[in-house]
Structures are given as C-alpha cells and as structure tokens.
C-alpha cells in the first residue's frame, strides 16, 4: 500500500490531470487564433479603411465564451484548492498520487488565472482600434 489511511481520507481526486493542466492555456490559444484570424479575414474582405465594429463584437463574443470556459475550469479546480496548499496538511515530500493531484490542480488553477489575463489582453486591441488600418 502506498497510501495510508490519512491519505485516503483527505483524497480530493485522482488521475494524472494533464488534460486539465492544458485546458486553460488551450482556451487562451484558441481564443487568440480565432480573434486574430477572424479579424484578418474580415479586414481582408472589407478593405483597409473599413470600420472595425463587427470585429469588436465578434471578439467580445469570443472573449465571453473563453472567459466562461476558463471560469468553469477554475471552479472545478477551486474545490481541490480548498484542500491543497492552504489546507495545512499538504505533505510536501509526499510522492503520492494524491499529492501530485493536488499540486497539478493548483498549477492548473493558476494557469486559469494567467490564461484569463492573457485572453483579456488579447481582446483589448479590438476595443481600442477604430478601423482595419
């Protein structure tokens, strides 16, 4: 047995969590691509002098979806956080599935925050620029 009784009691989940780790940055990356490719296609078709307003709305909608997705991932990880670093019972040396799970969950949660900041920064130009130029 690699986990003792205490470990089982404070178990928060299992699995490698690698998918959850890359979900947030993936949302960020997809948001980036959708915004920039969308704006590029629109501006190419509409001409350099045309107004950016449709792009602004498009980016706003994409951003809302991205932030919603990040929020959901964040919430699912927040529950784990309740037990993790601030729980006071984190076994820093414990090379156990439970400790790995908590650590990766915490990292994923911070990546959520980082990705949300990234998404907002990516979206900002669409709200500040007036035309395709």
């Amino acid at each position: 047995m690699s986990t003792d009784k205490g470990q089982v009691e404070r178990a928060t989940g299992e699995g490698t969590d690698l998918w959850r780790l890359i979900t947030a940055p993936t949302i960020w990356a997809v948001h980036f691509l959708v915004c920039y490719v969308g704006a590029a296609i629109y501006c190419e078709k509409a001409g350099r002098a045309s107004a950016l307003l449709p792009v602004t709305w498009f980016v706003a909608a994409t951003t809302a979806v991205a932030l919603l997705g990040l929020g959901l991932v964040f919430l699912s990880l927040w529950r784990v956080r309740g037990f993790s670093v601030v729980g006071g019972d984190l076994n820093y040396l414990g090379n156990t599935p439970e400790e790995r799970h908590r650590f990766l969950s915490h990292v994923s949660m911070m990546l959520c925050v980082l990705s949300a900041i990234g998404v907002v920064f990516v979206a900002m130009p669409a709200f500040m620029l007036g035309t395709c130029r």
């Binding site: 601030v86 900041i117 900002m124 130009p125 500040m128 130029r133």
Partner: protein, 338 residues
Amino acid sequence: MTNRPAKVRRRPSGPARPSLVALPILLMIVAGCDGPQSALSGAGREATDVSRLFWVMLVGGAAVWIVVMGTAIFAVLQPPRGARVGNAFIIGGGVVFPVVVLAALLAYGLSMLPDWAQSGTRLKVHVTGEQWWWRVAYELPDGTLVRDANEIHLPAGEPVEFVLTADEVIHSFWIPAIGGKMDMIPGRTNRLVLTAEKPGTYRGVCAEYCGTSHALMAFSAIVHERDAFDAWLAGQAKPAVVADSVGARRGRDQFIAAGCGGCHMMRGVVELGDVGPDLTHVGSRRTLGSGILPNDRETLEAWVRNPDHLKPDVAMPGYAMLPDADIAAIATFLEGAK
C-alpha cells in the same frame, strides 16, 4: 635560488570605487543618446511619441519591478504571519499590481497607434530599399515623380507619407530622430507617415539585416522650411547640370564612354539604365555610397576606382583600369552635377 616569488604583495588592483568608473561610462552612454541619429532627440512628432512611450514604459516597468521585488524581500525579512497575509501579499503584489500596470501600459501603447487615413494632398515620398542603397522619388500633386537617391528631404511641420517597398530582400526604413521604423518588403507596399518638426540634418539607417553591406546602408534626412524645400525640389526636378568647364565636359564624355549610364540615370546626359542610384544631382548630396562617406573629390575618385573596397560586395564594378585623368574628369563632372 628559488624561482618562487618571495613575497606576494597585494596590489590594489583596478580602481578602488566602482562608482568612480561607472560615472564616466554612464556619461559616455548618455551622451550617445543625443545627436543626428537619436530616437530621444525628438525632431519629429512620431519620434517624440515613441520617446514618450519609452519613458512611460520604463516607469511602469520599474514600478512593477520595485513592487514585486519589494514584496519578495519584505516576505523574506518578516516573521511568518500566516497564510492569509501571505496570500494577500502574493496576490496583491505579485499578480494584481503587475496586471493592472501592464494593462494600463498596453492601453496607453494601443491608444498611440496611428490611424493613417489616406490623404491625397500629402507629399508622398516613394522609397525602395536596394542592396545597399535607397531609391527615392517625390510624388508631386500632379502625379509626376522627381527621382533621387540616398538622401531624403522633408518640409518641416507637415505630415509626409512614405511609400515603402524593396527590390530583392527585406530592408527597414528608420530615421530615429524623426520616427519609424517600417519594414520594406519586396512585392508589398508599406506606408509610414512622419512629421518632421525641427529643420536640420538627421541620419537614417536600414534597420533590417539585408546582406554583406547592411551596416553601410544609411542616408541623410534633411528637414527644410517649406520654402527651402520647394526650392530644393524644383532644382531636383531639373536635368543634370554640366559645369561650364573643359574638365566637366570631358568628364561627361568619359562618363558616357565608360558605360556608367548603363546603370546610372543622369537626366539630360544619359538615360539608359536604372540599376544603380540616380546621379542627376549627385554633386549636391551630402554623402556618397548611401550615407557612409563624405561627398568630396578624393572619395569620389576612390569610389569609381574600387567601390568594393569601400563597400564590400557592392553591385558596381571598379574602374581602376581607366587612366587617372579620366577618373579625375569624371569626378569633376559628378562634383559639378549639383
């Protein structure tokens, strides 16, 4: 006897106080921030914007650095106060503060992006990057082009639109004191609007590696008052002047005979080739070899004899085989072509 050193005396090695050395070095570096090629000297509206942006970014970056480092050092020095206080510091100093400052800087930078509307009335200057020189043409309101090379003249206080492209490889057009830079890309036209403010002579450079003599590809940017600019442009539109002397006329004949016209346009004298810089008014240029050499007799002769020596891999053959007298005559002729 032993050849071991008897006594190792500690010599005071190097200057005692680093600050005493740092000061002159710092002064030297700071002194380099002024002059004809400085982005901080603010001789153009766009350069002033860029230098303001630079200072704002510097202050913002310094604030982030100080707060983050300050929080970290504070955390190390303080006795532990529990997770709640710790988290507040990490999130406040390490996340919220930098994010807010960076967002403000991003917004400020974005707000400075120019919105270049097309304008029919603006002076247009077409500049094409060549290896390794600049093909220049001033577009008059009626659409005619006045051709020149290796020098840019601008009227002070007016927005001027640069229409930028390149011949074979990517170059970049930059007059740090006035504004820029903008890439010049083969098959593409990039636009850059600059407003020179203070009359004077500034230095522009190619800011994108473009081959062997990239570092030897510069130009002078001369900002005139409007009247002086108009006079200059009118002069530039005229065909080449052949000075009224035996030497200059002989030089003109030699210039034609040697085949220089196969590459160089010399309006009114030979109008054949267009591979090299327009030489119609080469005598009035401040520099030779695109901004790298003084435009004097000695350099002219040296250039015609062996340009590769002055500019490695240059696309102009040397004429060292011509008799000295012919080269001297060509130099007389080119010097007179004001």
